[in-house]
Every structure is written in C-alpha cells, then in structure tokens.
Symmetry: C2
DNA sequence: ATACTTATTAACACAAAGTTAATAAGTATC
DNA sequence: GATACTTATTAACTTTGTGTTAATAAGTAT
C-alpha cells in the first residue's frame, strides 16, 4: 500500500492554491472574502494566493463588483478563456479532435474517419493534431497541452497504450512520441475514463462525488469516478463491464477481445440481430446500413420484429445498471454512447425493472456532452498536469 | 462535490505526523534516518515529530540499536501494547467482543448468543462491553476507545444504526448512547466494512490498496477498500452484493430484506436446500441441525445429493466474483464468513470458471482473521478517531 | 460633509519545515 | 590505547508560509 506523503510549506501552499483555484472555478465569479468563508482560511492567504493566480493568468478580475454595505468587492473568476487545450478522442472508427478552452468552450473541431491501424493510425493522429495546433495558434492564446483519450487498455502514468486490438497497437509509447513531435505537455488516458471525468466537471455529473458513466456503442464500457477522481483499479481494468456475465452459462467459456455482456447487448450486436431477423423475413432493405438506432426507431414505431431485440437489450441493461448500483452506490449513472440516443425508450423500463430489487436506485441520466465528454475530461487532466492539484482527506 | 480543504501549518504537521506514525507502525522497528529516506522529509522534522510521538506514548524506543558504520542508531517502534481498545461485533446471532491492543493482539474475548431484539439487544451489548471494560481496566493500559461493528445499514458519521431489520433497530443513535454510558470515544460502522479494513491492516490484504472482502454466511455482503480506505458509496450501500442479480429473471420482482443473490446462494440457503433434498429422500437425520458446512462436508465425501447444491453455489459465487473483479479490479478478493471454511472446495473451480472470461483475474484468498476481522478494523478506526490521520493525494 | 461599513494593505507574530555547523558516540585500524 | 573515520544527534539559524491586528482606502446612506 502506498503511504501518504509528507509535505513541506511549499506543498502546503500548493494544496491551498489548488483549493482556492478550485473554488473560483466552480463558484466564480466570487469575492475574496467569500472564499475566506467557504474555505475557512485567512484573508491574507486568499489575497496572496489569488495575486499569484492572477499573475499566472489562471484567474482574472471579472470586472463586476458586488456591494454588501461597504467598499465594493471585485468578483474573481477563473480565466478559462486565457488558455486552450487540444483534445483528441481516438476511436476504432473515427478520430475526433477539438480546440477548447478551460471552460469547455469548443473553438474548432474535426472528425476524421479512421479505418486504418498500426503506424498509419498514428500518422493520422499526428495529422489531426497538426491541424488543430495550427488553428490553436491563430487564437493567440496560451496552449496548455494536448490530451488524448485512447481506446483499449492504456497505462496512464507511463503514457503507453498497452493493448488496443482494433488498431493493433501493443505497448505503444504514445505520450513520449507525441511529446517529441509537439513539445507540449501530453496526457494520455482511456477514452471512457476521460469521458466520465468530463461529465463530472462539465456535464450532468456536476457536483457528484461518485458516479459511473456507461458507454454503450460498438462495445460496452464504464468510467468510474470515486471521490471526484478517476478510479482505475489495481491493474487499470476497473469498469470493463463489457465483460460482466449476464448469467452463469457464460462461465468457463474463454473469450478474446469481446466480453460476455457486450457480445449480447452492444449497439453493434443489436444491429446484427436486426440484420438476421430482417434477412430471415426476406427484407429488401440494404441490410449493411442498419444501425442500433434504426432498430430503436423501428421499436418506437411499434414494428413487431424490433420488439424482442430491444426488450432483450433492456433486460441486459437493467441487470448491468443494477450491478453498478449495488457495487458502487453512485450518486448517478450516466448513459452515453450511440445507444443512449434512444434513452427515452430505456430509462423508464429499466427503473421499473430494478426499483425495489436493489437497496438504492441511483439517478439514471443521459450524457449531455455526448462525444465531446472525452475532450472535456482531457481539459481537466491537462490542467492537473500543468499545475499541481491535491486532494486532502482526513481519514475516518 | 466536496472540495478539498485548505490547511494551515498545524494541519501540515498533522499530515506529516500521521505519515511518520504510519511508517513506524508498518515498517518498524525503524531508525530515524530510515524514515528520512522513505518519506523524503528532513531529519529535523522526523526528530521533532518522533519526540512528540514518544511523549504521547504512541511510539517507543525498541531498545535495539543498528550499526551501519558510525554511531549506532536506536530503532523505533509503534507502541502497540501501550493502549487497548474494546471491539465488538454485533451480529444477528451473536455478540462477539474483545479487548485488543493496537497490534491486533487479543487479550480477552467473549462470545454471547444473541437472539433478542430491540432494547434487549442494546442491553446485551452494554453488558458485554461492561464485562470487557472491567477486564481492560485490569490491564492497567490506556483504553483508547470502543469500536462497534454493527449489522444492517449504519450511518457511520452520525453514529446511528439506520436500519437493522433482524434486531428491529431503526435510526437508533448507538454512538451517542454508548458515549453517555461509557464516556469513551466510540466508533460505529458496518461490520463488513470494518472486517475489510481489518484484513487490509492485519490480515491477508496487507499492502493492498484496493480489495474486496466478501462475507458469505447467513447473508452475502462485501466490504470495499479503495486506496486503503473504506469505500461506502453515496448512500452508504456500496457493496450490498447480496442484491446482485444472477440473471434477468430476477428483474422486476420486489424483495424486502433479502437480495436476489443471497436468496440463492447464502450459507443459510445452502442448508435449506439440503434439508429439502434430505427430507424428500426420507432421511432420518435431525434436519434442523444441518448447516452449510455439513453440506460441504458431504460434497467432500462424494455424497451424490450434495453435488447439485454445491455446484450450483459455485456457479453463483463464480459469477459474483467475476462481477467484483470487473467492477473494481482489486488486488485481491478475500473470502470470509461461514462458507469460506470450505474455500478449499471453492477457489479452484471458481478460478477455472472465470479465467479468460474476464480481463484480469485477481487473487482470491481466504480470510485469516475470520470473525476477528471486524475487531481488527475497529482498532484502526479507533486509532483514526483518537488522533488525526490524513491522506494526501496529488491529482492526476 | 459625515457616519458607517467593508475591503485592502502593511507590518508583525507564529508555526513548522529545512539547513548547516558543532558535538557525540560508536567501530576499525595502527 | 590513541587515532581516524563514520554516522547520529543537537543547537542555532534560515526560509516558507499562514494568521492577526491596526491603519488606510473606497464605497453608500443620511
């Protein structure tokens, strides 16, 4: 077990600095004396640290002043527009990249289809970043860093993509390579983890300490936030819920790549099931183009053939969410990924299925950030990476 | 989301103090200069804090000196025998209490059968503590506090047993009552949580940051340790894995009290299934006395009737452990409770069932502390409660 | 203009960590 | 047994950072 570190006066200041910056970012515009009350810290400390943050361009005077009976107090705010980051979400089917500021405003975005693998994928990634970087420079703002959310198993701290079967990367030192190429701070993490962090800061998970973000798309995965931070597990595989077992018949049968649950209920499987059913019925449609969304639409229109497919899936999702609720007891479970577009058809029946069956039913919400969530998470991680942030907990 | 607090020099000292005490407890006997290297802190700070800890009787000179080429260095050790705590595990069938020191040595223990409820249960608890306290006083050691691990849902911070159906307690302010009665620091927590913490410090989970302790007895529950601390979830129900759903047929059927999984595979259910089978076969045995252990023994002796019952249970347990592994990716999963006595029959088939089916298979170990685990956890929590302990994490 | 309230600044006190040089307590060697 | 060498401990002082208090500044209401 890792031991808690000792700290010196300098780290003490780092801790206080990050606490104050955090408050300004979340509660701003806010007055200095308001921070004093919120954080139980002396005014001088707030003033000194705020001065430093202003000098570093992380905080600025909002221009607005507030009156509470005496001299007016200027309100401070997080200087979210003073810096930009480049965020990239690397997927098996596309590369989505954006230039965003620290408030999550997106200045430009690109989506590039991605059907290659190996070094070609890397080249495509570099080209995408090149483009974004060129744009970022035109804004004249300070470029804080590049954050990449990658598919597969990523070794976050080493900056290595350990194993991404779909693009055939194995132990690829992405962080090092990108750093050499662009000479900017790089962060690399799993796409689902970043998305969960993104929702915590900018999406429907704001003000939640514990949440789970479930992505149902071509596969099924979850990003887990505990106490406001990404929980990765001891071997960085926490949240690989595509591998949950829907029942005991799945025991003992080894599978490579895909997990048991995602082999039954992913978006890709829903589409595949539909193709089979429609082919059996001699449909004349262009079966290749059928997607999960198409099946949900059919269900919405009461087409009989879609009913068993969707109802089956709802069963799998109900069980999956019950599992997550029982294990993590989060404030909220967020649905994301392609299938969540049809959440209107899912949430009510799921709740009906699990209410009363488990002790506490968390809120189930739909992602508001969608595919941008990963980029939003990259913003936060880049911020953590750029200046020091601490979390202090009194044990009990 | 709770914000990280600001700290002053006093808290800085508290943080460093707890880091140093922690190292001495875990690595002791240890020399001052060794602490300097382990913790990256200056020698003077170590000397000053150690002096304070010695004055407080938390640390003592071991008497042993070490020679590394110059003046000999005295080795320090945690003064685990200078204080005792009273730990009690309140169960639906018994009250188990012990007087133990901070190293986990048990000086005396009592087990009291417990078949009452309501205020009688409370009286029995008070009597048990009375007895332990009398003994504790005879040791002449400092009594640090009383730690109670209670069944049901407990509001740890308020010290209230929210809902314990088997003994009919609802929102019972146990901590307050005990404090009034005994005038000692009281800690109250869920029995499973404390057991998990106990295994982390004194049992097979030593040096694990993330672990799950599963208790299979009259019910099924789990205690979750994340980053060395108890994870309770947002509504204090994390780890209530007795409510996991073995398959989708359990959806939609409300249950009160017992969960779906524990209604299929708890120790009590194993015994009940056996009673039924044996009654059907016209057995002359005293069916009332049959326990899960009896069924496992029969299985070990190749008695045919026991086979389907045990094999079924193994299936449920395999699925449950796979779920925990996928969700939490812990260093280790620890089996505890009555059924774990038969772990020799369980672990291998379980591993066979889940290896290759999930991405990473954690170690599965059997509790070494057994029913004492809860008391051991109470030691640590009492320690946390008595002097301040902090955990500092640099975010990334 | 005056009184009142609140914000800001400056000077100083306090807490705790870090540094450096002097001193102490050993062992090994001659 | 004296001397050299190594490491531990102590004491004095420096540095970093927070906390407090009194003086000053900037407003509004009367």
């Amino acid at each position: 077990m890792r031991s808690t570190p000792t700290i010196s006066a300098t780290e003490m200041r780092g801790i206080n600095r990050s606490a104050i910056l955090d408050i300004i970012r979340r509660k701003g515009p806010i007055a200095r004396s308001d921070i004093v009350e919120t954080l139980q810290v002396s005014l001088m400390t707030v003033i000194r640290i705020v001065d430093e943050l202003i000098a570093e361009d992380m905080v600025k005077d909002s221009g607005v002043k507030e009156w509470t009976g005496g001299r007016r107090r200027p309100l401070l705010e997080f200087n979210s527009q003073g810096h930009v980051i480049i965020g990239v979400d690397l997927n098996e089917s596309r590369i989505y990249g954006a230039v965003a500021d620290l408030a999550g405003n997106i200045y430009t975005e690109i989506t590039v289809p991605h059907h290659t693998s190996g070094s070609e994928s890397y080249e495509l990634l570099v080209q995408t970043i090149d483009g974004l970087l060129a744009y970022a420079k035109t804004t004249g703002k300070n470029i804080l860093g590049i954050g990449v959310g990658a598919l597969g198993i990523t070794y976050y701290d080493e900056g290595v993509v350990h194993w991404a079967p779909t693009i055939e990367w194995r132990d690829f030192p992405l962080k090092e390579n990108l750093h050499k190429r662009f000479n900017l701070p790089i962060i690399l993490d799993n796409d689902v983890n970043l998305a969960a962090l993104g929702e915590t800061w900018f999406g429907v998970g704001q003000n939640c300490s514990n949440l789970v973000l479930v992505i149902i798309g071509s596969g099924i995965g979850a990003g887990i936030i505990i106490d406001g931070g990404i929980y990765r597990g001891s071997h960085l595989t926490a949240g690989e819920i595509g591998f949950l077992l829907p029942d005991r018949t799945f025991l003992g049968s080894k599978r490579d790549g895909f997990g048991a649950l995602e082999s039954q209920a992913s978006g890709a499987i829903i589409a595949e099931k539909a193709r089979k059913v429609l082919a059996d019925r001699g449909s004349t449609e262009n079966l290749e183009e059928i997607s999960a969304e198409y099946v949900f639409d059919a269900y919405r229109n009461n087409e009989e053939w879609a009913k068993p497919i969707i109802e089956d899936s709802i069963g799998f999702y109900s069980q999956m969410l019950a599992t997550l609720a029982v294990c993590f007891d989060p404030d909220v479970i967020i649905l994301s990924g392609g299938v969540s577009k049809s959440a209107d058809l899912l949430i009510e029946p799921i709740l009906k299925n699990i209410e009363g069956v488990i002790p506490i039913c968390p809120k189930i919400l739909v992602s508001t950030l969608g595919h941008r969530a990963t980029i939003m998470g990259a913003i936060i991680e880049t911020l953590y990476n750029t200046s020091d942030f601490y979390s202090v907990r009194k044990l009990s």
